[in-house]
Symmetry: C2
Subunit: 205 residues, 2 copies
Amino acid sequence: MVAQGHQTVSSKALGAALGVSSDKVRKDLAWAGGAASGARSNHVGQSGVGYDCATLHERIRSVVGTNRQWAAVLVGCGNIGRALLAYGGFEHQGFEIVAVFDSNRKVIGKKIGSLEVAPMSDLRRTIRSHQASIGIIAVPRSAAQSVAGQMCAAGVRGILNFAPMRLAVSQGVCVTNIDVNVAIEQLMMDVSLIGQSGRAGRGGS
Amino acid sequence: MVAQGHQTVSSKALGAALGVSSDKVRKDLAWAGGAASGARSNHVGQSGVGYDCATLHERIRSVVGTNRQWAAVLVGCGNIGRALLAYGGFEHQGFEIVAVFDSNRKVIGKKIGSLEVAPMSDLRRTIRSHQASIGIIAVPRSAAQSVAGQMCAAGVRGILNFAPMRLAVSQGVCVTNIDVNVAIEQLMMDVSLIGQSGRAGRGGS
DNA sequence: GTTTGTGAAACCTTTCACAGCA
DNA sequence: TGCTGTGAAAGGTTTCACAAAC
């Protein structure tokens, strides 16, 4: 909406665009204005007018963290890894992949886009030197836990995991899983249930 | 656990493996035994013993739908599409990709694994002839809504969407989104919050 | 002794409803 | 009039606690 030149937006309009009620939007945004991210005023919106798009956008970016810079390292340059490197939509999120690693000798040294694939032995050093706080795991299931261990040891704060398994990580390290198997089962279950009762489950991320 | 030869398993053991309480496991499994999938008995587990692994597995497969056969069509054979085709772990979920489509003339006719890339003009006919109930969208954002429309018109019941946007679909069609941008923001937020309060958000799918 | 299934309590989220403000 | 922010009600989920079953 900022990009489209809107000055303000109402909770009702936001809710309609997102498929939720205006109440929910207001409750959530009240939190974003108050408790979160050290804001001084409790009021993000203006009665009778709505929310100032630019201000709201900046507040949300501050809560989510997209206004800061995040360096990430990627391990695994199979199809998933290459898809991530090819996808350019991360810059405006303050997110950048600064290095790629693989254990396969045949791909080490090859260039993918602007990055050269590095050997796993460099992982620790690179994470430290770049102060990378995010690790991305795009390796087969059998290698995932080992990679996660090395990432934790090197000091990452969060892991984005594409391997279809639950990772054990050091305390204080966050994990977000992207598991296609789980997503497919979710979808199959939703489709099955809609046939019985007529209600649709809305998709998550 | 079935594969590992376990006879029975307790709610406590399941909960520990999953990171949830035994109460929650029992409540959920009580539903799986009763309300769901036309089971006749209310009891899945046995007092003092636990749950029979094989029976429980079959019940869950029945609820999720992995005991039935699902045909899916894939649109888009970029890195994501190819990653899905290369990943072989879907058979035991009753899930099979039966056809691949792309709008790019240069890839139409090429073989990826055992499937030949077909032109978009074949989409409707193939979905009908294979009775495919699932469509997978692995195309750029700009093409996603159009593909979703064609899939809905051809009669799919569910869509797995990799494009970073919310799809508008016909009533009765379920959508599950896999959005890397959202996952990354989730992770960044979790990492930010852990720094402040010491609590970790657990990863979704 | 162990473990399930389930009411009741505690907790959390969403919706309702409206005072207050522009 | 239109909209926010927020108490209160409603609705849903998780935890507690224990009788019944093995």
